[in-house]
């Protein structure tokens, strides 16, 4: 049994790694490759495999295992992987795979996402319009809010979601 388990090195770099890096696959890896790598790493980092190791190594293994599972859940779902790609392009290394579930209540509060007072004003109007089902009008307000809030990525994401919804509705 090795004295410095590789899982400790993985643990130490956990917060600096993308899901791709964690799973040791290239960014364009297909589902089979991702699955194979996941199973190999999950087995290698499973806390049970470290039962006889020092407590800090066990804790490191548990943390790495949990993150590997998180990475696999995101990368093995087409929808979540697409969302992750967007997050990754903004420099975010992790996403909450369940965030979609809590999305509905926050959807109504574009206002909270806006930063500058004038952007908040437009966002509030957009919130109201969405509540009334007037999505086109709401979209205009979000565009105006974005003019005030340069580089507000979250607001931009909402704008894109709004555009997608409008496109779907024809």
């Amino acid at each position: 049994m090795s004295t410095t388990p590789a899982v400790v090195a993985m643990f130490e770099s956990l917060e600096r790694q993308s899901y791709y890096e964690l799973l040791q696959v290239p960014r364009d890896a297909g589902p089979d490759r991702i699955k194979e790598s996941y199973v190999r790493l999950a087995a290698a980092c499973h806390p049970d495999a470290y039962r006889r190791s020092a407590p800090e190594h066990q804790a490191a293994a548990a943390a790495v295992f949990k993150r590997i599972v998180e990475a696999y859940r995101v990368l093995s779902s087409g929808e979540l992987r697409a969302r992750y790609e967007r997050a990754l392009s903004r420099g975010k290394l992790r996403i909450d795979p369940l965030a979609k579930d809590s999305a509905p209540p926050t959807l109504r509060t574009l206002e909270t996402l806006a930063v500058t007072p004038s952007a908040k004003q437009f966002a509030r109007a957009a919130d109201r319009l969405i509540g009334e089902g007037k999505l086109k009008e709401a979209k205009m307000q979000v565009v105006l809010a974005l003019n005030c809030d340069k580089d507000n990525a979250q607001l931009e994401e909402r704008l894109n979601m709004l555009k997608e919804t409008l496109a779907l509705m024809g």
Binding site: Q24, P26, V39, R40, A43, A44, A62, F65
Partner: protein, 594 residues
């Protein structure tokens, strides 16, 4: 030398198994029996009979002979599953302090973990007698679909029995471990586990050195007991027709009918027609003394086909969760006593389009798997994959080609292959500093990657759920949420937690309340408490909280209301266990093994 054993704590029967010299084998009691009925009979002297001797007292002393409590363990008294059945038991079930289920016997009220502890003590005693050495550690199995409360209650029971729990293991997963790899490189297997009180289906993928659970689903209120009850109904009808006796007014007679129904059901697994008479004690047999009941296998199948069909609804849930079609399953393994019914094997074959396998005795396989896991997790045992003892193998001539024991694994395995040998060296998307090599596992044993069967939720405004952990997430896993206060200066926040599939909180099983107290007074909405909910490798929830502003781990106190018991209550239960010695194994009746 002390041993770590595997215990299948069943609704109807329990089995204890151990790995010795690399071979996993069930342990028989001094009379040669391997199945220990999960029945506990309290004697007026204070001593307690467990197992066959207790089962025999079910007719004589129904008020003090307790059975099938696995159906109720870990459930609150108010639960519909308890309210709908408690009156059908001849013993006195009532609400225990703390809102759980209790059994009143000889003026004392025992919680259900205490009853299970007696069964586990018997398992421990059987093992110690056979091994001639103390047994202190165990892997105890539970239905895959057991929730946090049921698992915690089982763990409490083991602790009361003087056993350190190495793992609470899912029964189908244990079965898969005993079944072992077939030698094919990668295989998807379905474990169809139909026991006395519960049904579980688990889909696993087995590859070299890894058993990965893809999905599990189950019904904790569906088992062979339901078939017995359906047959007992027909018997009651017959009794009424022939003798104008209404068994429904006499719970004791109805209970006797169920015992007879179970016997009849077993006989009809090997015969096409059978007859039963009541074999209870001579006194107090009432109308049963002059009545017998005949049934054909066809009639039994008519009575039970609806119950068996219900299992396939659950199977489809698991396949959907595993994103598999029926044809994607390479092999179906039958587990549990109810799969001995020819109807069940036939329906499974029809449904999956494949002949199911029962390579290992379906009533022993779970305990064998648990013993293998115990030996893999135990510190005192050597590292090697155990094999299954030959007596536990059940050889169906048509399955002869499937008999292949797990191959012995060399001490220095080639697996897992180093990724550097597979991954091209230059991969532009991988930045520097990323460790490239998978850490080699420090032992040769196969690793089990199990999942949590149920979604974990917190209650949100309006009675809805916010999902913390999705069903079928590999365990251990965790999820962190930030909570805040709703009022100025508020120092306590309560969060209700539930397990279940419904988006409505009330439709799920409430596990309790996590109380975060000692929050520093602040205007509303400004305090931020990060709460981490973990499901550990036993499938049991742990909660820890951290005040984000102060960073202090202890800033918030976590209290889960409704978990089995606090330390004081456990001490009281422990004291009660000591007040009840088990009747010695040698003093039990010596009937020849069947």
């Amino acid at each position: 030398m002390s041993f770590a054993v595997g215990i299948d704590l069943g609704t109807t029967n329990s089995v204890v198994a151990v790995v010795r010299d690399g071979v996993a084998a069930p342990i028989a009691d001094p009379q040669g029996f391997r199945l220990i009925p999960s029945v506990v009979s309290f004697q007026s002297s204070g001593s307690v009979l467990v197992g066959r001797a207790a089962l025999e007292r079910r007719g004589d002393d129904p008020l003090n002979t307790v059975y099938s409590i696995k159906r109720l363990i870990g459930r609150p008294w108010s639960a519909p599953e308890v309210q709908s059945v408690h009156a059908t038991f001849p013993f006195d079930l009532r609400e225990a302090p703390g809102g759980g289920v209790g059994v009143a016997v000889h003026g004392n009220t025992y919680t259900l973990p205490e009853i299970s502890a007696f069964v586990l003590r018997q398992c421990k005693a059987v093992a110690e007698a056979a091994l001639g050495a103390p047994v202190h550690r165990a892997v105890v199995t539970v239905p895959a679909n057991f929730n946090d409360l049921q698992r915690s209650a089982t763990k409490t029971a083991a602790s009361l029995a003087g056993l350190e729990v190495l793992r609470i293991l899912n029964e189908p997963t244990a079965a898969a471990l005993a079944h072992g790899p077939s030698g094919k490189s990668r295989e998807r297997i379905a474990i169809y586990d139909f026991g006395g009180g519960t049904f579980d289906i688990t889909i696993l993928e087995i590859a070299e050195g890894v058993l990965e659970v893809l999905a599990t689903a189950g019904d904790t209120q569906l088992g062979g007991d339901d078939i017995d009850a359906a047959v007992a109904e027909r018997m009651a009808d017959d009794l009424f027709k022939k003798l104008k006796f209404d068994a429904h007014g006499e719970p004791r007679i109805l209970d006797r009918l169920r015992v007879m129904a179970e016997k009849l059901k077993r006989e009809l697994s090997t015969r096409s027609e059978a007859e039963v008479t009541d074999t209870g004690p001579n006194g107090d047999r009432g109308p049963l003394a002059r009545w017998s009941f005949r049934m054909t296998r066809q009639e039994l199948e008519q009575a039970s086909v609806g119950i068996v069909e219900r299992t396939f609804t659950v199977c489809r849930q698991a396949l959907d969760a595993a994103k598999l079609q029926l044809a994607g399953v390479d092999r179906i393994v039958l587990v549990g006593g109810s799969t001995r019914m020819p109807l069940v094997a036939r329906k499974v074959e029809q449904s999956f389009g494949k002949r199911p396998v029962a390579r290992i005795h379906p009533e022993l396989i779970v305990a064998l798997g648990a013993s293998i896991q115990a030996s893999l997790l135990d510190d005192e045992q050597p590292l090697a994959i155990p094999t299954i003892d030959a007596d536990s193998l059940e050889v169906d001539p048509q399955d002869i080609d499937l008999i292949a024991l797990p191959p012995p694994v060399p001490q220095r395995p080639k697996a897992p292959p180093s990724p550097s040998s597979r991954t091209p060296a230059a991969e532009p998307s991988l930045p520097r500093g990323a460790p490239r090599a998978a850490p080699p596992p420090p032992k040769v044993a196969p690793v089990l990657i199990d999942v949590t069967p149920l979604s974990l939720n917190v209650e949100t405004a309006g009675g809805f759920c916010s999902l913390l952990i999705e069903a079928n997430t590999p365990i251990p896993c965790e999820s962190t949420r930030t909570f805040t206060t709703g009022n100025d200066g508020q120092s306590t926040v309560c969060v209700r937690v539930a397990q279940g599939p419904s988006p409505r909180f009330a439709d799920n099983t409430c596990l309790g309340e996590v109380e975060l107290s000692g929050i520093e007074p602040a205007p509303r909405g400004t305090a931020q408490i990060a709460v981490t909910f973990e499901i550990d490798a036993d499938g049991i929830m742990n909660v820890c909280a951290r005040d984000i502003k102060s960073g202090r781990q202890k800033a918030a106190r976590v209290q889960i209301v409704g978990t089995p018991a606090d330390a004081k209550a456990v001490e009281a239960m422990r004291a009660r266990q000591q007040a009840h010695p088990l009747v010695a194994l040698s003093a039990q009746p010596a009937n020849p093994p069947r």
